[in-house]
Symmetry: D4
Subunit: 164 residues, 8 copies
């Protein structure tokens, strides 16, 4: 893969069952025309492949990583251990504790290895894409314009809401 063609955003999730939530990340990136790749990779079951994927993606020109996991959600941290590019974490509700475990395991990173953490679940899946686009918009002002258009559309929609 040549650098130009490498996807700008790599979306990694710990299990295929996360896809129901994380396809909202994909949808949001697509809607904004941002190239991306989505992969199932596990911090614990495929540690070596995860490291290799991160390193080769960086080499190929990926700029932002999004990692989503639930429970003892180590994926974003493990990704961050292998790159100094921005890593965004999406805590997913797992089998108990309503997302609190995933949130704390994603956000409470020790000094030195940052993970920018978004909301638990679907809201976070969408927002991770938006933050990635926002990061890319620094270089590419067109993306920022589209983000504003979206915000304006959201605002218009809100102001048009009729209660009953």
């Amino acid at each position: 893969m040549s650098e130009q063609e490498a996807p700008l955003v790599a979306v990694i999730m710990g299990s295929k069952s996360d896809w129901e939530t994380m396809k909202h990340t994909r949808d949001t990136l697509e809607k904004h025309g941002v190239s991306h790749v989505c992969r199932v990779l596990s911090a614990h079951r495929t540690p070596q492949k995860t490291a290799e994927f991160v390193e080769s993606s960086v080499e190929d020109g990926t700029k932002v990583f999004i990692a989503a996991a639930g429970g003892a959600a180590h994926l974003a941290g493990v990704v961050a251990a292998h790159t100094v590019l921005p890593v965004l974490g999406v805590p997913l509700q797992a089998w108990s504790l309503d997302g609190l475990d995933s949130l704390l395991a994603t956000v409470q990173m020790p000094r030195g290895i940052p993970v920018g953490t978004l909301s638990i679940g679907k809201a976070g899946a969408i927002n991770a894409a938006l933050l990635a686009i926002s990061i890319l918009s620094i270089e590419e002002p067109e993306l920022g314009k589209k983000l504003w258009e979206d915000r304006n559309a959201q605002a218009k929609a809100i102001l048009a809401e009729k209660l009953e």
Copy 2:
């Protein structure tokens, strides 16, 4: 202020008492040679000034915002409401609940308005700076190199630790 001279990172905190923690953000940005400005501005006490500061900073060329607050920590969200540039949130331990309130009030943003949230307190203050630098490194590879140098230095230091 001309765009070239505008600080790349704007660091906002809700109260002067946050400075003890947030000066670690400043120190980290300085160490990496990233231009920045640090300001006390409140989501609730100076909402208009906060909005104006965000908007004028964007106009002047600021690329990343870091906002730190405690308790019902609305500052990062309010900053994010006024820009589509990346906003990073640092939840600060407040007068009770050991940072849980600040964390939830910073991270649980609704879909559409992302805040990349870091760890509670000092670790988050340092990591917000590192994530901001990491974002800027996409455009400026020198910053990325320095981030790796730091990581390598950290790794070396860890491997050199003697336990007694």
Copy 3:
């Protein structure tokens, strides 16, 4: 709108999906004959409109604000930043954490900007209306009488309950 005709209570919610809960606020205000207006306005998506709405409502004669939101529930705090009239907050259960995030983000306001916070969800929606009426009853004793009638009716109903 002349001041006399302005609704006494303004009810704001962050999203139309909150209406299912917040219509209980409306119902309670209606039952007590208190003029009101209900609006969808977002702290993050329509910050300027929210501020304008609060300021023009105050000018028109609104006396109490009720703001309801979920997750990083900043709406009540943002309303309170634009008025010194009483602001009541209703934390709504959001997509995770069972309302704890909404509660902490609404209630833990820093000194200087109070938000009187009610219970999470429907109980809070009803109680916000009752507290608003209670506030207005200071000027208008008829409202207080009706509140007592309601309490007496509630008490009577309880005492009439048959367990099987």
Copy 4:
């Protein structure tokens, strides 16, 4: 006591040890020239006296109640059971759990009996006074003006902060 002379705000706390926090309520009310009375009364140890105090205060012309307690903080709820005037609750950090018990026991009132709850501890003590003043300002616009003056002073102070 004639109605004219009755204190407008009654501040009740469950134990004398709460006074260290609640004197900030008193100070704030005094600073704004709002008449008030502060009393130690317990929901559990002096239930009858608490009820009598609430009822006689109402008769004498008190308009707002502030109740502060820690742990299984029932005081505000018990006060609210005896009046339809506004009752504001201040959850105080008790012997464990960092204020979470006090917060939940104060705020999670069942439908029908509202308590407007403020932040945990000192911030809440100050904010309860401010919300009480804000409620009284509906009738007495001078109080509202002073609240704005304070806000402006706060804003000015924030904008004047120098970080080192």
Copy 5:
């Protein structure tokens, strides 16, 4: 009612909707042949009647009180304020927070006014009855014998369980 005929255990709950859980208290008391009365009474909506009920029950010969409530569950504490007889509290899951609010509001009583708190929900409803019987068994050894018979039956049932 003459003292001999007064029910030994009074079971109070804050709302009729609690009966679905609390009928397990009734069933357990019935199974053990312990006289009892079940009533809906509210700490907040019928405070005077609650106090009167407690006081007259004591006078009539009731020996143990069981009080169940959810949310800011003040009922057991309010009962305990009116008697020095044993008061047992059952925290009921309410509209949010999965019973944590009810538990903390019931159990964290200040020194001087004890409430013996049982498990959240149905397990607590049954156990409150068993603890009441256990208290009464001090005077009436027959009750204790029957409690042991039950335990033995439980043990037997457990030991007879077949897993597939």
Copy 6:
């Protein structure tokens, strides 16, 4: 030991370090003239001795058990497994989590084996003694009178408090 001379209340704690809190249980029992014994016994380190102590105490005439422990606080549950007499649990703050672990491990007993749980820490230590006395007062009305005297003294003390 003959039955008459057996202590009415047995107070068990998991470690000698709990004594600093639990001597308040002892003091309260002493003040009310209730015979008691205090012992260090562990659910995990001396399970057999704990069972034997409970069984022999019952035989000797003990009527109420108080068990205090921290962390995975199993002591009260283990005591309750060996007697059908009333068992009261005091959750003690342990090495982390501010008493939440101790509370949940003490109170959330499965149906069939009740533990009447008091507040976390010192308040619970005092209240466990008071609830034990309250249980014994059913047979011995003098104890109930003294409990009321104490309550009245508490009430008087509260009503006599001067704030500054």
Copy 7:
């Protein structure tokens, strides 16, 4: 039972209703060809039988214990009190609090009596079996090989996942 034939792993659960979760422990042990026995035994309802079962199992050659319970989950701790062999705990979601009570009651053991605690619920049920096998694999390298085969199969499955 002769030592050779004794099951290597004993799986104990507090109630038959736990079997729906714990049969995953059984399935995992079976799949790896590890001899085992599954029993319902209660820390509170059959304390003596639980102790006897642990002691006789040890004598017969059992090497690892797995104990699962919910709520005030004392079972693993009680098992650990009767053996110095490895005891693994599985916290099961009970009637409230989403497994937090079970987790804290299982894991927060005092120094001296360790319980190796796994995830809440089904994930923990499977992992307890895997950790038991892992412990046994120290003596029996074949088991370790099979664990690696499984890991490799898991990794392969993950790498083969197609997202739409």
Copy 8:
């Protein structure tokens, strides 16, 4: 290093500041004459070295791993990703949230990769050593005998405690 001489237990911690707690692991292993090695290695700062250390330790004959970390405590999970030998996790109190983050990030592992988690902090540090010894005692009965001697000494000490 030949297999015979390899330490049986490898103790890894994320930072040198963890040593104050983790030296209790070392002390306990030493007291029981179990060979061990203690190392500072980070899941995030030295991921490759951590993996290499685990793999070479396994090759050299290490049988049990103990990993301790705080905050988003990924270390034990990362170790478990590189071995099928038993991995024990010790959650350490970090900069906020009193150990809850560390506990959840250590214990809530997804199915397939178990970590046997001990108590938060010092109790867990000691218990991890004891559980490791307990695991090794399966092969080496002398270790089990010494564990029982210790337990008996603990029991004796408890039974000898004098309360004043």
